[in-house]
């Protein structure tokens, strides 16, 4: 077991390619730490990938494209562990929308509402 945790990516081809080039990719006999979501990728496949990744204890961060996060929002809602951290990131075709990000909602509520 190596030190440090992996950064997992669930995203469209461009996102995954970019991060793989940056060097986060890890693939061995147990599988890989990324999922390329294409237009014909089925929803259950994404859900499964997310569940598997979020249960792996060698994963520290899960990066997920926001538009994909929206598709599996129901799974994300049930997910409440701290680690791995789920981070919603923009994709090429879908600019980042803070409104849809749970964390940003909370942040804005806090900053806007002046505290709970």
């Amino acid at each position: 077991m190596e030190v440090g945790k992996l950064v997992a990516v669930i995203g469209d081809e461009d996102t995954v390619t970019g991060f793989l080039l940056a060097g986060v990719g890890h693939r061995n006999a147990q599988g890989s730490n990324f999922l390329i979501v294409k237009q014909d990728t089925q929803l259950p496949q994404i859900e499964d990938a997310f569940r598997t990744l979020s249960q792996r204890d060698d994963v520290g961060i899960i990066l997920i494209n926001q538009h994909i996060a929206n598709d599996i929002r129901h799974v994300l809602k049930d997910y409440n562990a701290t680690i791995p951290t789920v981070l919603e990131i923009p994709s090429k075709e879908h600019p980042y929308d803070p409104e849809q990000d749970y964390i940003m909602q909370r942040v804005n509520m806090f900053l806007g509402g002046g505290g709970v």
């Binding site: 081809e13 693939r27 090429k92 075709e93």
Partner: protein, 389 residues
């Protein structure tokens, strides 16, 4: 190698049309399918991809995108490539030897890509049907080969069987065996190990090198204008590869002193204007300055290099190469009685597809400042046409 001896040459001004007049007429008719200056102008003015779609319905791409409700760069690229492939296949059916072999040669380049993709993908346990979908349609093998590929099991053995029984029989098989032979001579490694250990891009570059050499020999054997014009194009291509390989090897293991002469040098094609004097000098180059000093000796490349070295960032060396290629290909396309126009047609269409993808990506990502940075094909305002915008 695979090259069959042509029964006869391409013919000259008096006899070319007997055999190849019809095919040439066809490809010349496709000249009008290229996007015009005003098409590009309209496209670059678009705000959304829907606008692009509407604008494209005015062009030759109308049929290809007729069924699309929406548009994204990937879809457009696929549709455009499919269109090119359909046209190319139609051309291929209308040709007789030696033009048909010439056209086949064009597809080998894509076949090499596909073989690499299949081998590497199969090695990492990917679903082979999925991989077949990703293959470039221009480089597809015979039906029987395509059908037999998925029947191999996903294991090291199955995959070595795949190589030994199927891929050797493809037109690019000889390039493979040549590569494996040379590697075996160098390191005494077994074929499977070579494929596993050597980086996919390096294998590909080697195969492309053999392909360029083979193709060059073929057009030389055809003689006449074809040899002159295609020879020039292929030599330039070989040079481009040599320069690019050198430039892009900096910062990778390929630039290590030991690798330079053993591995990198083997990737330089044995044809071209840089060969042999230039490539032997390139072999010892270790950084950009040294590369620049070598290229200074060759007037046509020193100009390109100076644009790269000035480092304004406006144009990369790739852009300059593309520009020069487009110029040469346009010339090849517009002259007559040789095969160069077929090659030029495919390559220019490829550039056009690249441009379309670029424009749509720029619009999609709202990078309007960058949208003009592509090389137009058959533009009336191109620098080499001597007109200003």
């Amino acid at each position: 190698m695979t090259t069959p001896k042509p029964k006869e040459g391409t013919g000259d001004i008096a006899t070319f049309n007997i055999q190849h007049g019809f095919a040439e007429a066809l490809v010349r008719g496709m000249r009008s399918s290229f996007l015009q200056d005003q098409d590009y102008h309209h496209l670059t003015q678009c705000e959304t991809l829907d606008d692009v779609r509407l604008n494209l319905t005015e062009t030759d791409y109308a049929d290809s995108i007729a069924d699309f409700n929406s548009l994204n760069p990937t879809m457009l690229q696929k549709a455009a490539v499919d269109k090119l492939v359909t046209e190319f296949k139609y051309l291929r059916t209308q040709t007789v030897e030696p033009l048909s072999t010439f056209l086949d040669f064009i597809t080998y380049e894509y076949m090499i890509e596909n073989v690499m993709l299949l081998l590497k993908g199969a090695l990492s346990g990917r679903d082979i049907n999925e991989l077949l979908e990703q293959c470039h349609p221009l480089g597809m093998f015979k039906e029987s080969t395509m059908r037999s590929i998925p029947t191999f099991e996903n294991s090291a053995k199955g995959y070595s069987d795949l190589y030994q029984t199927v891929l050797v029989d493809t037109p690019v098989g000889p390039y493979f065996s040549k590569f494996l032979q040379e590697s075996a001579m160098h390191r005494g490694a077994h074929s499977r190990n070579v494929l596993e250990e050597v980086e996919i891009e390096i294998i590909k570059s080697s195969l492309i090198k053999y392909w360029i050499e083979d193709f060059y020999m073929f057009v030389e054997s055809l003689g006449g204008d074809t040899a002159t014009i295609m020879g020039d194009i292929l030599k330039t291509r070989a040079d481009t590869n040599a320069v690019n390989i050198t430039l892009n090897s900096f910062g990778t293991p390929l630039n290590e002193p030991a690798m330079r002469s053993s591995d990198r040098k083997r990737l330089y094609p044995a044809v071209g204007y840089l060969y042999p004097a230039g490539t032997s000098m390139l072999a010892d180059v270790s950084d950009e300055d040294e590369l620049g000093r070598v290229l200074e000796l060759f007037p046509s490349y020193s100009a390109i290099w100076s644009i790269h070295a000035s480092g304004t960032g406006d144009k990369s060396i790739d852009d300059v190469f593309y520009e020069r290629d487009v110029q040469a290909l346009e010339l090849a396309f517009e002259s007559q009685f040789h095969f160069g126009c077929f090659y030029a047609y495919v390559k220019l269409k490829e550039q056009e597809i690249r441009n379309l993808v670029w424009i749509t990506e720029c619009i999609l990502q709202q990078q309007k400042d960058e949208i003009e940075k592509f090389v137009q094909v058959f533009s009336n305002t191109a620098p080499w046409r001597g007109k200003t915008r």
